[in-house]
Amino acid sequence: MSRLEIIKTYKIYIGGAFPRTESGRYYVPLNKKGEPLGNVCLCSKKDAKNAVVAARKAFGSWSERAAFNRSQILYRIAEMLEGRKAQFVEELVLQGSTQKAAQQEVEASIDRVVYYAGWCDKVSQVTGSVNPVTSSHFNFSVYQPMGVIGIIADQSTSLIGLISQVIPVIASGNTVVVLAAENLPLCAVTFAEVINSSDVPGGVVNILTGKPDEPASVLGTHMDVNAIVLGSDSKELNASLRKSSALNLKRVIEMQTDWSKADAQGLYQITDCMELKTTWHPVENIGGSTSSY
C-alpha cells in the first residue's frame, strides 16, 4: 500500500502562536499550471486587529533590547533559514519558479538577513549626528524605531520580497504586522515557522495571509499603527491606504523594487521606518576652543 502524504496546513502567525484565522475562512491559491497550493487562511479585519495588539505588546521589550542582541537574533534567523533551504526551494518551485531561480532566491534571502543583522548595532553611529547650534547646547540627533509597522508585502514574490521588507524594519526595533502575497503565500507561512524557532520574541513579527485589501483597511485606519509600508503595486489599495493613513498622520512608505537585485538592500530601508529624535542638552559651547570637552 502506498503511503498517504500528509498535507501541510498553512496557518497564520500572531503573537508567537499559529492560530487559524478567527473568521474560519480559507482560500485555495493556484499555481500557473492550475495546481492548488494548499488551503490558506483568508484573514479578516479582526485578525489584523489581534495582530496589532500582539505587535504593540512586543514593541517595548524588542525596541529596548541592546542593538547587538537584535543583531544576534537576526543572524539566528539566517541560520534557521539555511537549515530549511530545501523546503523553501520546494515551495518556490511549486509556486512556479524554476529550480535554479528558486535556489537563487532562497540564497539571496538568507544573505539579505545576514546583511541587515550586521546593521542593527551600527545604524545609530552612521546616521546619528552631533549638530552645530548657536546656543550652549549639546545638540544631537538619533534615529529611533517608530513602533508598530503594517507591511503589505510584495505581491509578486513569495520569499525575497517579504524578507527584504520585514527584516530591515524589525532590525531597528520596530514590530510588524505583515500581509503576505495573496497568490504566493507558502513561503510566508514557512518563514513564520523559522521566526518562531529563531529567538525572535512572539509578537515582533506577525504574518497574515489572504486578500490584502480587507485586513489592510484595518492597518490603514488603526490609531496604534505608526506607519504603513506599501509593498504591493496595486494602485487602488495604495491609494486607499494613503487616504486612511491620514487619520493619525501615520507615515506611508513605498518599498517597491526588483528585490532579486543585489542592490535592493541598504541603510535607507532601515531608516525609512525610523524617526529622528533631536535632543538639546544644556552645556557650554562644546566646539569652542575654550571648551573643556
Binding site: 486587529k49 504593540r56 496604534d224 487619520l247
Partner: protein, 306 residues
Amino acid sequence: MRSTVNKTEPIDFSQSPKVDKVGVEERVARFQTRSLKGASKLQGLKLALNMIDLTTLEGKDTPNKVRQMCYKAEHLHDSHPGLPTVAAVCVYPSMVKVARESLRNPEVKIASVSTAFPSGQADLNIKLTDTKLALDNGADEIDMVISRGKFLSGEYNFVFDEIAAIKEACGKSRLKVILETGELVTLDNVRKASDIAIYAGADFIKTSTGKIQPAATMQVTYTMLMAIKDYYDKTGIMIGMKPAGGISNAKLALHNLVMVNETLGGKWLTNEWFRFGASSLANDVLMQIVKQETGIYQSTDYFSID
C-alpha cells in the same frame, strides 16, 4: 443601605452551602460565549465605565498621584463628550483628604481601604482607628479586609464580630468587605466567607485587594454572586458586589456584567450595587467606546496615562 447589623439568629457558618466547582466552571464558561454587539455593547461599555472604582493602592502613592487620578475620574476623555464618570476613587486612608479636596463632582465617591489593608494583620483597635481616620477625612465608603488567618483557622465568630464592629464604626457609610479570595484557596471557603460578611452587615462583598494572585476570577465572583442571591431570596435585602484585581480589559468587564444580569438580574446593574475595582480597566473601556462610535481602533497614545 443597611443601617443595622443582622444578628437576630445565630448561624452556623460551617454549614454554608458547598460549591460545585465543575458546575461553576461550566456556568462561567457560558457567560463568556455571550456576544454583545452594536448599541448593546456600547451601552454595556458605558455602564462598565460608570461602575469603576478607579484605584491606586501603592506604597509609592503621592498626593499628586492621587490628585491626578481624581482629575481623571471626572475627566475620563474630554475630547469625547457624553461619557459618564467613574463611580468612585479608591485610595489609602492617608490620601482621603487629598482626594476630598481634589474632587469637584459629587457623583464620584471616595472609597478608602482600611483595617490594616492589605494584610489585615492588626488589632481591632487599630483597625477601628484606621477606619475612623478614613471617615473623618471624608471617605464615603470603606473597603475593609477580613482576617484571613483567623478565617482559615476556623474562627468564624472572630471574623464575624470584627466585620460587625467595623460596620458599626462606619455608621451610614457603606462598607465593602474584601475576602481576599486568592488566600481562601477553595470556592467552599469563598462561599463561607461571603456568608459571614453578608450576615455581619456588609453592604458590598469584594473579591480581592489586588495584591494577591489569583484575584477576581469569574468563578470566584460567581460564587459570591450566588451567596448574594441566596441572601436576597431569603431576606429581600440587596447586597452589592465588587470584583477587584485582574479585570483589565473591556471584554472581561462585559462578561462580568452578563454574569451579574443572569445571576442577580437587572436590578444590580447600577454602580449602587456593582463595582469594578481596577486601575487600568478605564482606558481599555474608553478605547472600546470610541472604537464602537467611530469604527476606528484606538491607541493608548491618545488617552491619559493610568
